[in-house]
Symmetry: C3
C-alpha cells in the first residue's frame, strides 16, 4: 500500500465522476475486501450475489451500483461499473518502488545506445548497440535490451526482462520478470537425416498499453514480424510463436500457447493453458475455455471448448476406455436402428 | 558426489536407526542404482518387483525391507521404508558448492536492507530497500530481492531468483533458478472498450521447507496474500495465480497451473500439466492425474481425472469425430430402447 | 538482415549445388516471402499449393522444384527440397551481433575455470569453479555457468542461460534466454507426514547441434544423467524431467513436457503442449500431436493422439456431459443388441 495516499470520499467522487452517498468527509487511506476492509478503507461490490456482505462490512466506504445502495450500511460511491471504478481508485493506493532517472553504475550501456535522460536504468542492466530507451521508461534490475531494440516511453520492465533483437515495445508497456521477447522462432527444415535451422530474420512489435506476464516468451518472426496490437494482456508463462498476430484488447490467461503464424482477433479471451495451432485464424470476440485446443480456424464470435469433464478416477477410466470404441458403438447403434426400421 | 564423504555401514545404521546385516565395516563413499553401484556405493530396493536385481548387484551394500533380506547377496541396511532411508543417507553424499558468508563485491545492496552476517550473497545479486536476508540464507548469483521482501533463515535461492515485492519466504525454503515470486496477479476490469489494470496490493507468503522448481511463477495477491503453507513442493514451470492458497505438504508436478483464488488442500498431489480453475476448493488428500482440468470444487479425498486415452491417430480421429455427436447418439439410444419396450 | 551480404544467383547456385534458371547475374541481398520480397530478395516455393503466387511475386529470384519452374516468372534456383535450400541460403543473410573474444570486465570468473581465449564472455556472466568454456563458445549477457559445467566449442548461449551443476553441452549447441539446465530433479520420498528430498546426484549431457528454446528447463538426473542426444531441437518452455533420455534428431514444440525417466526415441516429433508420463518408452519416429498425453509406452513408429475436438461451447457441454455416461451407454447398447438377437 502507498502509506501516503489519503483522500476524502468527496475527492474520489469528483475525480472519478461518481456519486457520493453518505458522509463525504470519510477519509480513505487504502482499499480492501468487503470482509477485510477497515474504517479507512474502501471496498466494492461488483457481483450482486454478494450483496448480503454489505450489511456486515466494516469498510469506511463501498463502491456499489445504484441498485445495491439501499443495502449499504456505510458511506458509498455509486458507479455504473463498481469493478472498473475500484480498479481506477485502487491505483491511487498502490505503492510502486521509486525508480530514479538515470543509469545505475553497474549497468552496461553500449555507446551507440540512446537512453532518455528521464529513463531509469536499474542495476546490472545491459543495453546493447543502437538500442533506444524512450522518455520515462523504467528498466528494473537485470534487464537486457538487445541490439537495436526500442523500449517506448513510460514502459516499465519490472526486472530481468530480455529483449533479444529487433524488438519494439510501444508506450506504457508493462513487462514482468523472466519475460523473453524476440528469441528465435522455432523454424527447422529436415535435410535427409538431420535438422537445418531457418534463420529468424523478422522481429517483434508490441503495441501500446500491452502487459506481458512473468516468464512469458514471444518469438520473433521468420521473415515478417510477430505482432501484438495495443492493449493485449498476457498472463504468466504464455508462449507466442513466430509470426503470430494478436489483435488489440485480447487477453490470455496463464500458460496459453499460440503456434506459429496463427492470427488471433481483437477482444478475444484465451483461457488458461488453452492452445491455438499454427496458421489458423480466430475471429474477433472469440472466447476459448481453459485447456481447450483450437484445431481449426474460427470464423464466428462465440465461446469454444474441447476436453472432457473431471470425474472420479474409477468412473473416468470407464469413460476413457469406452471413448476408444466410439466409432464402433455409433456403427452398432445405426445397425440396430436399421434393424428396428426394417421390422 | 561429495568426494569426501566416507562412512561405514555401522555408522550409517546407527545414525539413521536402521539394522545392519552383514559386514558392518563396509565403507560407503557414495550411492548408486542396483545396476550401476560399485563396491563402495550404497543402493536400495524400494519396489519388491525389482527384487531379482538384488542377486546381481555389485553394490557395496543395499537398503532393503526385512522381507527382501533373504534375496540379498551383499551387506544390507534393513529399513521399514528403504526409499525414505535412502533419501536421508544419500544427502550425506551430495556435493553442494560452498557459499561463503558475506556479500560478493558485485552485488548491489540497498543501505536499508538487513543482511545477516552469516548469509551468503552471490555475484550480481540486487537487494532492494528494507529487504531482510536471515541467518544462513544463501543467495546464488543474480538473485533479485525486491523492496521489503524477506528470505528466511537457511533458505537457499540457487540462482537467478526474483522476489518482486511483499514476498516472505519461511525457513529452509529452496528456490530454483528462474523462479519469479510476487509478480503482479492478472487482474483486469473491462471498461467499455479497453482493459483497466487492477493494482495488486497483496503479497506472497511461502511457508517453511517449501521447494519451488525452476521457472515457476507465483503471483502476489490482489488484496490478500497468495499463500503456500509449509512443506509445499512445486516442480518446474508451475503457475500459481494471485490469492491461491496451497495447503501444507501438497506436491505439484511440472507445468501444473492453479488459477486465481483457488484453495488447494493439504497432502494433495497435482499431476503434471494439470490445471485448477479459479475460485474452486480442493479438499485434503486429493490426487489429480496429469493433464486433468479441475472444473468444479472437490469435496472428498480421492483421485480425479479428465481427458481421453492415447490412440493411434487414425483410430483417434474416428473417436474424436464421434465425440461431437454423443448427445445425438444418447438420444437415439433412448429412442431405440423406448421402441424396444413399446413392442 | 545482414546488410553486407550480396551474392549473385550464380554464386548461390554453385555454393549450394543448385541449378540456376534465368539471369544468373541477379544480385541477391536478402530473403523474403513470395508476397513481400523485392527485386533483390530471394524467395522460395515449398508447397505446390501456393504455386499460383509465383506469377505475381516481385522477388528477384525464387527457389523452386523442377515441376514449378514453368510457372515461375522470375529467375530461379531449382532444388530438390526448396525449403532446405532456402534455410541454408537464408543463413547468409542473417545478422548475428558480433561477440568479441574475451571476457567482459563485469563478468565474474572463478580462478579455476578454464575459458578458451577464443570464447566470448558477455557482461555480468558468472563462471564458477572448474567450469570449462571451449573454443569459440559465445556466452551472451547474464549467463551463469555452475561448478564444473562444460560449454562445448562453438556453442552459443544467447543470454541469461543458467547451467546449474554437472551439465555438459556438446559442440554448436544453441541455447536461448531463460533456459535452466541442471536444476534439481523433482524427487521426493514421503516420510509419514512430510516430504524428504532426494538429492539429485546425476548431471545433464546435451549432444552436439542441439537447440534449446527460451525458458525451457532440463533437470539433472537423480543418480544417472539426463541425456539429449545430438541434434535434438526443443522449442520454448519445454520441461524435461530428471533422467529423461531423448534420442537424436527428435524435435519438440513449445510447452511439451516429459516426466522423469521417460525414454524418447530418435526422429520423434512431439507436438506443442504434449506430455509423456514418467518411465515410459517411445519408439523411434513417433509423432505425438499437440496437447496429447502419452500414458503408455509406444512400441511402433506412427502418429498418436488424445483429446477431443473443438466445439461451440453449447454443443461441447452436451458432448462432455454424455462422456461421463459412456460406460452406461455402451452397456445399454449391448443389452439392446442382445434383445434384438433374441427376438
Amino acid at each position: 500500500m502507498n502509506v501516503q495516499a489519503n483522500h476524502s470520499l468527496a475527492e474520489l467522487a469528483e475525480r472519478f465522476d461518481l456519486r457520493c452517498h453518505g458522509d463525504a468527509d470519510t477519509r480513505i487511506t487504502g482499499v480492501g475486501t468487503l470482509a477485510g476492509a477497515g474504517a479507512h478503507q474502501l471496498s466494492f461490490l461488483s457481483n450482486s450475489k454478494y450483496a448480503a456482505q454489505l450489511a456486515d462490512t466494516h469498510a469506511g466506504a463501498v463502491i456499489v451500483r445504484e441498485e445495491n445502495l439501499a443495502a449499504c450500511s456505510v458511506p458509498a460511491l455509486v458507479a455504473r461499473d463498481p469493478y472498473v471504478a475500484y480498479a481506477k481508485i485502487a491505483a491511487l493506493f498502490e505503492h510502486i518502488p521509486t525508480a530514479p532517472a538515470g543509469i545505475h553504475p553497474s549497468a552496461v550501456v553500449a555507446p551507440s545506445a540512446r537512453v532518455s535522460a528521464s529513463a531509469s536504468i536499474g542495476p546490472c542492466c545491459v543495453i546493447e548497440s543502437d538500442a533506444v530507451i524512450e522518455d520515462g521508461a523504467v528498466l528494473g534490475p537485470h534487464c537486457i535490451i538487445g541490439e537495436g531494440c526500442v523500449v517506448g516511453a513510460q514502459s516499465r520492465l519490472v526486472a530481468r526482462v530480455t529483449l533479444v533483437i529487433r524488438v519494439t515495445l510501444g508506450k506504457r508497456v508493462l513487462v514482468h520478470p523472466g519475460v523473453v521477447i524476440g528469441s528465435d522462432g522455432f523454424g527447422l527444415a529436415f535435410d535427409t537425416d538431420h535438422w537445418i535451422k531457418l534463420p529468424q530474420l523478422g522481429g517483434v512489435r508490441i503495441g501500446d498499453d500491452c502487459e506481458i506476464g512473468a516468464n512469458t516468451t514471444i518469438d520473433r518472426g521468420a521473415l515478417d514480424d510477430t505482432v501484438l496490437e495495443e492493449d493485449v494482456r498476457l498472463d504468466n508463462q504464455i508462449q507466442i510463436a513466430h509470426n503470430v498476430h494478436v489483435g488489440a484488447h485480447t487477453a490470455m490467461a496463464g500458460c496459453a500457447a499460440v503456434a506459429g503464424s496463427a492470427k488471433i482477433g481483437r477482444y478475444c479471451m484465451i483461457g488458461g493453458n488453452a492452445g491455438v495451432l499454427g496458421h489458423l485464424e480466430v475471429a474477433d470476440r472469440v472466447t476459448i475455455t481453459a485447456k481447450s485446443l483450437v484445431t481449426h480456424s474460427i470464423r464466428e464470435a462465440g465461446e469454444y471448448s474441447s476436453g472432457t469433464p473431471l470425474q472420479d478416477n474409477r468412473a473416468w477410466r470407464k469413460s476413457a476406455a469406452r471413448f476408444k470404441h466410439l466409432d464402433e458403438y455409433a456403427r452398432r447403434l445405426s445397425a440396430l436402428e436399421k434393424d428396428s426400421n426394417d421390422e
